[in-house]
């Protein structure tokens, strides 16, 4: 192969792909247990109301109804973040959005369950609703969490790194721009589903399409008041996740409780409508950004304000808010930086983490503004980015530690492949090109609940026939984490990934991994697998070396053999080698773990944005716009991504392409829109995810910067490639038509509105004019890290 690797970097199929293509993969709703009851939830029909009473007696009396529960049956609150445990399984006393579950039933079949829901009588006393940012910041609206009236501010932050006023003072050019990024949602094709079974000896098993079995396990323990040892969570293969299944959900607790009450298995499968209400998708964010530039394009200071419309509950909201300010500095050297953010509660489904969590919105604002600054300064989009690009092995003003960094290479590569500089600004009217970049974390530096245990643990067990089983709680949501683990283990043992048995995502069987979120699995579980497999490898090598009387360092594992390098005929086949290792030192079961280094800076909120490594991307898109209808078609995309090291190029390409696709949807089509407190269309007809006809060809360039901390140097690829796509499209639309649509999605009506404004002699801009006047308070001043070098 010439790479010096067994399987690393090759385009091998997913280890579970034959199951997938034969329809054998069992998702949560495909599992069957004898006597399973149908669970359904009754949803609130009010955005904000007091529950004056619930009468379930008629539902309970219905033949075939086995249990009915309401809020008081599960009084303990939960929430993904320890600091914001503000949700109940079923609303108690008050409903806060249309679609919030208020009661749940378990019945013999779906028809009875539906009938039972219609027999539950809820008395609502409507309260004034709070449905947007402005109302959320009003003093006069009722508090969504609490009594009386007041501003529905969930949390705000004001931080200053360096001296921003001084930075603006030395600027040659200052720009201020306002942007809005609409909310959107994951829309995984599989709707959330949980199957609970409480057995005769008092053990609860929950099969659920969750990305975070460990956090769900902990939450079930609290809410159901069962010891952890009597709860088993099995994360079934997720039919798409994208962050939408990254926290405990109401239906999971409800299914479990109903099973405990009835002694029978209970399944709750959310309808598509319910998934839109369960949401936890992208926050709508209004942003104001003021940036100072030197004449050569270098950023001297940045002041970034973000206003998040969070919906009715906290979810990851505090973290989401911090993320809207955390990673601006991960791509550009910003010597002085002030970030102010606020998240408000509103009577809508809660927003949370979606692919890119809190960073696509500021990335859109930043990259659009940068293009305009370049034009102001007579520079090219490529030039202004290269002059500001972050360098490897550097620190940022807000205390992020950058290790490997292929940003400049990504920019140069993608601009070269697309012939960007020759074409940008020079294409015929209606055709345009745009460039943007992005960076993302390879795993959040800190776990969600404070602890000093590893963030990922992996076990590798080898049986006497040489069969290798890998145990990990990492959850495959389609991103290919199981294949990644198999590849890492196979690489080290000289086997094929398809040779291995993979046991994943089961709290009874597998050691903890925190879950499939924050793009952490390759880096963290991958490193844990490297450590565990390394121990297995060492033992096998030791045993074979002893037999051969060879130096262990001279042995290699390849093609199912353990032999002296350059002489495959020596040594043993894998199974024989394994038996020798077991004979000499006992059972061949080893474990490994990973814990991120201490990276947090000296300020509150510094836990958000830190990561052991950052991936980098740069993207160019070519668009064709219809100047009359405002329809935008993306014709081609070039995307360069610094993945550190490609463990499986097929999967890396797949993540890039999937990220481009999801970014395309956010840029042009998708909006979780509301009319008052009511979703404008909770269906896949009204919520427009792109079809195959909207997807352009993608040319990808994989950049390998070999991160010193990653498994074989690998970094993330699941989320980063989405980030530059949205602003690249916005910049391309400007290049094509001369208009600025400073609000995504860039829908045809917005484009035409901007074109009409341009035709009337206006600026040709569509977007918000200003941001609310909100007092963020005096920013907390944070000194740049020791060793920070201002550009």
């Amino acid at each position: 192969m010439g790479t010096g690797h067994n399987v690393l970097g090759r385009a091998l199929p997913r280890v579970d792909s034959m199951e997938q293509v034969t329809g054998a993969t069992r998702f949560a709703d495909d599992l069957t247990l004898p006597g399973t009851l149908v669970g359904r939830q009754l949803l609130s029909t009010h955005p904000h109301a007091v529950i004056a009473g619930i009468d379930t007696s008629r539902a309970e009396a219905l033949d075939g109804v086995r249990a009915v529960i309401t809020g008081s049956d599960l009084p303990i609150t939960y929430g993904i973040l320890p600091v914001s445990q503000d949700e109940n399984t079923l609303a108690i006393d008050r409903v806060r959005y249309v679609g919030e579950p208020v009661a749940a039933v378990a019945a013999d079949d779906a028809e009875i369950a539906e009938r039972a829901l219609s027999l539950i009588k809820v008395d609502y006393e409507p309260l004034e609703e709070v449905v947007d940012l402005e109302q959320g910041l009003s003093e006069d609206r009722p508090l969504i969490h609490g009594e009386g009236t007041g501003r529905n501010v969930h949390r705000s932050v004001a931080l200053e790194f360096g001296d921003v006023d001084e930075g603006f003072g030395v600027a040659d050019h200052i720009r201020e721009d306002v942007f809005h990024y609409s909310g959107n949602t994951h829309a995984a094709l599989e709707t959330h589903c949980a199957l609970a079974s409480y057995d005769a000896v008092g053990k609860l098993t929950l099969w659920s399409s969750t990305q975070v079995p460990h956090y769900l396990h902990r939450s079930l323990e609290r809410v159901l008041e069962l010891p952890a040892g009597r709860i088993r969570v099995v994360a079934t293969p997720n039919g798409g996740g994208f962050g939408g299944k990254t926290e405990p959900f109401s239906h999971e607790f409800a299914a479990a409780k109903l099973s405990m009450l009835t002694g029978r298995p209970v399944r709750i499968n959310l309808s598509r409508e319910e998934v839109f209400y369960a949401h936890r998708g992208r926050h709508p964010v209004l942003m104001w950004v003021r940036t100072g530039f030197a004449a050569d394009g270098r950023i001297t200071a940045m002041h970034f304000r973000s206003f998040l419309d969070g919906g009715a509950y906290s979810s990851y909201g505090i973290v989401s808010m911090y993320y809207t300010g955390a990673l601006q500095t991960a791509t550009y050297q910003i010597p002085n930086y002030r970030f102010e953010g606020v998240r408000v509660f509103t009577n809508k489904p809660a927003c949370g983490p979606k692919r890119g969590h809190g960073t696509p919105q500021p990335r859109f604002a930043l990259e659009c503004q940068l293009d305009r600054a370049a034009a102001d300064l007579g520079m090219e989009p490529v030039g202004i980015r290269l002059v500001n690009a972050v360098e490897p092995d550097s620190l940022t003003v807000n205390h992020l530690r950058i290790t490997s960094c292929g940003l400049s290479e990504c920019i140069v590569e993608v601009a070269g492949a697309s012939d960007f500089t020759a074409r940008h600004g020079r294409l015929p009217h209606g055709h345009g090109m745009g460039l943007a970049v992005g960076a993302y974390m390879s795993g959040a530096g800190l776990p969600i609940y404070w602890n000093d245990m590893p963030q990922s643990e992996v076990q590798v067990k080898v049986d006497r026939g040489g069969g290798v089983t890998v145990y990990s709680m990492a959850t495959d949501v389609g991103q290919g984490s199981t294949t990644m683990l198999a590849t890492v283990v196979a690489e080290l043992l000289g086997l094929q990934p398809s040779d291995l048995a993979m046991v994943t995502a089961d709290t009874d069987l597998t050691p903890v991994d925190l879950g499939s979120y924050s793009s952490r699995v390759t880096f963290m579980a991958g490193n844990a697998a490297v450590e565990a497999t390394g121990k297995v490898r060492d033992r096998v090598v030791r045993a074979v070396a002893e037999k051969l009387e060879a130096n262990p360092a001279d042995l290699v594992l390849a093609d199912g053999r353990v032999s002296v390098a350059g002489d495959p005929a020596t040594g043993s086949d894998w199974a024989e080698a394994v038996r020798m290792a077991i004979a000499t030192e006992g059972p061949l079961i080893e474990s490994g773990s990973y814990r991120a280094p201490e990276l947090a800076g000296p300020y509150k909120g510094s836990g958000v944005g830190i990561s052991p490594a950052y991936s980098y991307s740069a993207c160019v898109v070519l668009v064709e716009c219809d100047a009359q209808t405002g329809m935008v078609a993306v014709e081609r995309v070039w995307l360069a991504h610094d993945v550190g090291r490609s463990i499986n190029s097929l999967l890396v390409e797949g993540q890039i392409e999937g990220g481009v696709y999801m970014g395309l949807g956010e840029a042009l089509f998708e909006e979780q829109a509301f009319r008052g407190g009511l979703h404008r269309g909770p269906s896949l007809l009204d919520y427009k995810i792109p079809t195959i006809l909207e997807m352009p060809p993608v040319e990808f360039i994989i950049v390998e910067s070999i991160d010193p901390g990653g498994p074989f140097g690998a970094k993330e690829v699941g989320q980063g490639p989405l980030l530059p796509v949205v602003p690249a499209i916005a910049n391309a639309v400007h290049d094509a038509l001369g208009v600025y649509v400073d609000e995504v999605p860039i829908t045809p009506d917005r484009v035409v509105a901007a074109l009409r404004d341009l035709a009337r002699g206006g600026s040709g801009r569509f977007g918000p004019e200003s941001v609310p006047d909100f007092d963020f308070g005096t920013p907390v001043r944070v000194e740049p890290p020791e060793g920070f070098v201002a550009p």
Binding site: Q20, V21, T22, G23, L189, E190, G239, R272, I692, V698
Partner: protein
Amino acid sequence: MAEQVISLQVNGAEHRILTADHRTLLEVLREDMAMVGTKHGCDLGECGACTVLLDGRPVLACLVLAVQVDGRTITTIEGMAEDGTPHPLQTAFSEKGAAQCGYCTPAMLLTARALLDEVQAPDPDDIRQALAGNLCRCTGYNKIIEAVEAVAGAQD
């Protein structure tokens, strides 16, 4: 409740089933026949995840009553491999990375198969048009197109 005994040819085997008139083919396949390879994403005909072949043509099992297709021939993902040998499309989807989460995959494969059964050498545009009713949220579709093209090229 109105019920009928119907006869379905599913994946080459004759099945006689007693079903209520109002049940969809999707419900009967998944619940009565344990063929859970057919998925559901919206139940309203908006996503394509429940696609099966009816007399060789792709239809949405969530919008077809079982009694409507009495006597007709149905192919589901469980019937796509023949005698244990995967259909070339199944192999190509695996090798080309055309499945990520795998949820839309059965429907995507069946729709692609109907195209290849009908058109000898479809070009990429034919493939796009044929698959335009199948939403995929993971892949960005291009690897699906590549996989279908690879098989189309081989049968050319």
